[in-house]
Amino acid sequence: MTHRVDEIFATLRAEGRKGLIPFVTAGYPSLQATAAVIGAFEESLGPTVVELGIPFSDPIADGPVIAASMHEALHCGVTPQAVFDTVRSLRPDTGHALVAMVSASIVERMGPDRFVALAAESGFDGLIVPDLDVSGSAGRLDEITARHGLALTMLVAPNTPAGRVASIASRCTGFVYVLARVGLTGERTSLPDVSARVQAVRSVTDRPIAVGFGISRPEQVAAATRTADAAIVGSAIVRRMGRAADPAAAAAEFAAELAAGLPSGNGSPAAPE
């Protein structure tokens, strides 16, 4: 089944372009800002994949910026239900593929069937559960997301053994998320060379590949997309949203700066017709 995540990457490939995938924390600094930034990204980047992080109380894979944004959103009463409502309201007006990044704690407590059904019904196109028990509960989530037409993305780390890379990649129905480095989300001045790792993933799957964790500069975007199909940027965007008078405009403007790092095949940021 073709879903919007595949369509976005198919368009990129057809046009010889690479993508920029922005991550924002849903409900930070407000749900209105989240709705606004989705539209603003469309203007500055064209339709792309946008990750929406559903706030969680104990995000152990996140560095201080995203962790603080999640606590702030929770403090303001943002629930998964409220995120679904926001996505439902903006779905008709956006060409982005919207991917929910959500902790296994939320999925398990709400029930995987119910969570995936609600996400799909609200208009999400894909799902990333970074702390999914891949050997235990992933089997069920494969089946449930397939049934609801959601693209499932799983992560490959720098220390993931080769055999396991193949197994993880074979179960991704969305893009494969390649971690640029060991550690937490957050901005880093230097980034390891990921090209060999991306090529290794490429050799075992036809799925699109996106690189994230530590990317916050145009030159890092350039380095990551030499081999990968897209670069993911989170903390650097979330940080700018937190201190801007107009968070959506600040995020979109910064995303456009980052997109300047994409290879020269990328044309104008205007949406392709």
Binding site: D58, S103, E108, R109, P130, D133, S137, N159, V182, L184
Partner: protein, 399 residues
């Protein structure tokens, strides 16, 4: 799965029935698989197990005695009460059993640095102790609220050469210290071992910690046999994450003659946020890498908890306890802050033993239970640690 004598839980995926598992970011998976493989190899290696036995005997002071509590028995007016004296183990609590084991594993894996979370500070002290003994660099994460109420243990950890990182996020207690330890591990996993202190977390930690703590139950079994010629009628232990309880229950788990009673922190009341009793009031959910009973809201956000005891002030519990609860193998109850504080004073006065606030919960429940039992019956309390660390906080609470 390590050898034929162990029961079949957890399975290869780390599941105790539906509970347990490994809900962690991919970055940690390789380290957890290495740990599981290394543990399996170590336990099959006679040199490793004899080194462990020797350290437990000559460094940690095992076996700890089983003490008949005559005046407490008289006070309860029912069954005879015995105390398994983990307070007499080196560092003053059962935590050393696990940190020596994991310290040896760290050395075997060739890692040079260890980290740990701590609530009451007992696991932090035991980790700092093992690190000093094995010559490892050591950093401990401890919530700011726990640093305040367990100050003595902070000094002890520093004296032992560890760095204590004060955690100011969230509720500033054990849950938040665990988050920060996991975050540290995400960054440093290639050269650092995380000495998790309880039977919680992702597989293989619940199994490894249970196995290292099972020395308590194995000794207790032999000592009961020597003291009164049979197994006890009831064993009572406090349950925060649940390591001392798992350690004493596990060797008796299939014994139908024994009633196993786990005691959670009842706090101020049964209202949400006023206790730390997930087995009693919680529901299945994922926290810190495994599926177990958790105190969460309807969307899986961790709920606030409270206990006068820093070691029990935690919203989750080990997955094997969840399995035992659902299988009816252990009875879980809770005891209030006030009852625990009374029991703290009671044991001090009647037996000349100042218990930690954590096992004071077990003492309160055991005295109630013993009162309803016959004089020829026997209750064993796992006295998991001594109370020096709590004297200051109790005098503040009880003025």
């Amino acid at each position: 799965m390590v050898d034929g004598s162990l029961p079949s839980v957890p399975d290869a995926a780390g599941r105790f029935g539906p509970f347990g598992g490994r809900y962690v970011p991919e970055t940690l998976v390789a380290a957890l698989e290495q740990l599981a493989a290394e543990y399996k190899a170590a336990m099959a290696d006679a040199e490793f197990t004899s080194r462990l036995d020797e350290l437990l005997a000559r460094y940690a002071g095992r076996p700890t005695p089983l003490t008949f509590a005559g005046r407490l028995t008289e006070h309860a007016g029912g069954a005879r009460i015995y105390l398994k004296r983990e307070d007499l183990a080196h560092t003053g609590a059962h935590k050393i059993n696990n940190t020596i084991g994991q310290g040896l594993l760290t050395a075997r894996m060739g890692k040079k640095r260890v980290i740990a979370e701590t609530g009451a500070g007992q696991h932090g002290v035991a980790t700092a102790t093992a690190a000093a003994h094995f010559g490892l660099e050591c950093e401990i994460y401890m919530g700011a609220e726990d640093v305040r109420r367990q100050r003595l243990n902070v000094y002890r950890m520093e004296l032992l050469g560890a760095t204590v990182n004060v955690v100011e996020s969230g509720s500033r207690t054990l849950k938040d210290a665990t988050n920060e330890a996991l975050r540290d591990w995400m960054e440093t996993v290639e050269h650092t071992h995380y000495i998790l202190g309880s039977v919680v977390g992702p597989h293989p930690f619940p199994m490894i910690v249970r196995d290292f703590q099972s020395i308590i139950g194995r000794e207790c079994r032999r000592q009961c046999s020597e003291a009164f010629g049979r197994v006890p009628d009831a064993i009572v232990a406090c349950v925060g994450g649940g390591s001392n309880a798992a350690g004493i229950f596990y060797p008796f788990i299939e014994e139908t003659a024994v009633t196993r009673i786990g005691v959670e922190a009842g706090g101020r009341s049964s209202r949400p946020g006023e206790h730390a009793a997930p087995l009693r009031y919680g529901a299945p959910g994922v926290l810190h890498g495994s599926l177990s009973y958790v105190l969460q809201d309807e969307f899986g956000q961790t709920a606030p908890v409270h206990s006068c005891s820093a070691g029990l002030d935690y919203p989750g519990v080990g997955p094997e306890h969840a399995y035992w609860k659902d299988a009816g193998l252990v009875e879980y109850t809770s005891v209030s802050d006030d009852e625990a504080l009374d029991a703290f004073a009671l044991l001090s006065r009647l037996e000349g033993i100042v218990p930690a606030l954590e096992p004071a919960h077990a003492i309160a429940a055991a005295v109630k239970r013993a009162a309803s039992m016959k004089p020829d019956e026997v209750v064993v309390i796992n006295l998991s640690g001594r109370g020096d660390k709590d004297v200051e906080e109790v005098s503040r609470l009880r003025g």
